[in-house]
């Protein structure tokens, strides 16, 4: 089945005396849609921060497409084809929507720190940015300053920035957080569309989204992965049900999804 897109081996993170991530082993195959679920405070977002190098790991190793990325900085990891979104919208607020997306494609097209080329003349970058705007349904908002978009539009832009550079490993951190039902349905369709043929790792609270999108699911509790499997396996897993029952989530919630 080839080299896994992402492979975590005994990854640990401590803040002072507090262990946040406690020896996580995780393998995400290329092209797989993988969701991480777990109760609040289980360390899901922290795990994302470790994979994307927002925080350095305390110990353990992370392989991206078979190559170690442990200890690299976020921009170096991004250049190797991993891109992530944020739970709290993290965009360029004073730039237009179009500029937001264009900034996200520049490096991948090799323009680096060029100060001798006019942006208006970079046909490939401009076309790709337009195409991404179309994919996330914001083509009519291109000239709007990103900071004044509606919440759902900002979430769509967040995904747009994440996928614009053409990374083949995508990490989405609660892409539907705070959305209404219809917005969530749109977001799920969007995610399905833009991650076509790519590897997706996502953190998500909404169980219907998880069971709808994911090929496989890992359950993270207290900084450890207690179970990994297909949606059917996870639904039937006693340990998962206990973990959720113990923290106030009902098994019915999982079943309903």
């Amino acid at each position: 089945m080839g080299v896994p897109a992402l492979q975590l081996t005994d990854v640990r993170k401590r803040f002072g005396q507090t262990a946040i991530i406690n020896g996580v082993n995780l393998e995400v195959a290329a092209g797989e849609r993988h969701a991480i679920i777990g109760p609040n405070g289980a360390g899901k977002s922290s795990l994302f921060h470790l994979i994307s190098a927002r925080f350095p790991v305390t110990s353990g190793s992370i392989l991206l497409k078979g190559e170690s990325v442990t200890g690299l900085s976020p921009h170096q990891i991004n250049r190797r084809g991993l891109s992530r979104s944020f739970q709290v919208t993290n965009i360029f607020h004073n730039l237009s929507v179009f500029e937001n997306v264009r900034c996200a494609v520049l490096w991948s097209l090799g323009y680096r720190y060029s100060f001798w080329q006019r942006l208006a003349g970079l046909t490939d970058a401009n076309l790709q940015a337009r195409r991404v705007l179309g994919e996330i349904g914001l083509e009519h908002r291109g000239d709007t300053v990103a900071g004044i978009l509606s919440y759902a539009e900002q979430r769509a832009l967040e995904i747009g920035i994440t996928i614009a550079g053409g990374a083949d490993v995508i990490l989405l951190d609660e892409p539907t957080a705070g959305m209404s039902n219809s917005e969530t349905a749109d977001a799920v369709a969007l995610i399905r569309r833009v991650t076509e043929g790519k590897t997706l790792l996502m953190v998500e609270h909404d169980m219907s989204v998880v069971f709808d999108l994911a090929d496989r699911i890992s359950v993270l509790v207290y900084g450890e992965i207690i179970s990994t499997g297909t949606p059917e396996q996870i639904r039937a897993d006693r340990a998962v049900q206990e973990a959720y029952l113990g923290t106030g989530f009902s098994a019915a919630e999982i079943d309903r999804a």
């Binding site: 976020p74 991004n78 607020h93």
Partner: protein, 419 residues
Amino acid sequence: MSGAPPLLHRRRLLAWGALAAVLIVLPLLFGKSFALSLLCQAGIMVIFALSYNMLLGQTGLLSFGHAVYFGIGAFATIHALNRVDHGLPLPVTLLPLAGAAAGLAAGLLFGYVSTKRAGTTFAMISLGLGELVASASLMFPALFGGEGGVSGNRVVGHAVLGISYGPQIQMYYLIAAWTFVCIVAMYALTQTPLGRMANAVRDNPERAQFVGYDPQSVRFLMLALSGLFAGIAGGLSALNYEIVTAETLGAQTSGIVLLMTFVGGVGFFYGPIIGAVLITLLQIALAGVTNAWLFYFGLFFLVMVLYAPGGIASLLHMHRRLWDAGRLARVLPAYAWVGPPLLLFFGGLIGLVEMAYQRADGDDMTMKVFGSRLDLSTATPWLAALLAAAAGLALLRASWPRVAEAWRQALASAEGGEE
């Protein structure tokens, strides 16, 4: 989409043509030697302020030490000028390139140590570097000329086509040409990948990292290029005054460029141009009229920071939006209401300040105002000025809501479109 660029291009060419025309015509309108030297100074400061805004407005870096690059460029140029005297084969016209090279080198050196972080860290490091270089300049008199500075003579070599740079008007056109080139170059830079990523790093350095860019590298390159342009400005100042002293790279020069840039408006490319021209005019005009000019300067800066943090450019932009929507006439009557209170308030305030300076200045306890003499040893003029300022302030507070309301309505109707 495909039809847009040529139109945009033509409009931009038109703007550049207009700028060039203004630069050419200005000395014909204000040809007196005083006005001419003022124009020269303004041109130099325009380049300097624009280079500063590459950091403050475009990259989000607040520097308290930008004079370092200006000053180093100035010293490099004056030394090069003196070498020309001894046979260095470089025309005076191109000497600001020596300033550019020195400014760039300084930017590469200091940028490396200062751009790891933005915010307070960068501001503090820039302040420290500024002090460091300023004090070092006094330790190496061979390079920086000690207290007396380094002087030179720009009328060296053979005159080419009658251009010797002896007459000030020739110096003006040299400065104007460099100003034009630098403005175009710095504008062009804002339209490149680096220029745009500088904005991105300003807005959100973390996100810039997650789209593949190293914020430190972006800041570093912007600082180095900004140093280059500041160096050109310094070089022109060296040629213009034919003397460079340690003051050139000191804290006061750093302060004035911050003030110009901020007052002009950091959010617009042309903001610093307005700020540099206006402050240069005020600096020279006010200093000739009153001893309290520095005080008024501080006051002006304070008022701008408090009430128009976007600078003059943003005020212009606000009014232009109303003008475009055909709603500008709606706010003008409200301005008429606040006009008199404003005059009264500032009249009283200026009276107080002038009297205080006159008193502190010496023995003459009288002051001539509009032909009559005021006796400053009595309480009457002081009370009158105080009363005027207080009444002006009270009336201003009472009438200001009219302006706010007029703006609210004008904007609402502008956004609502046609009525």
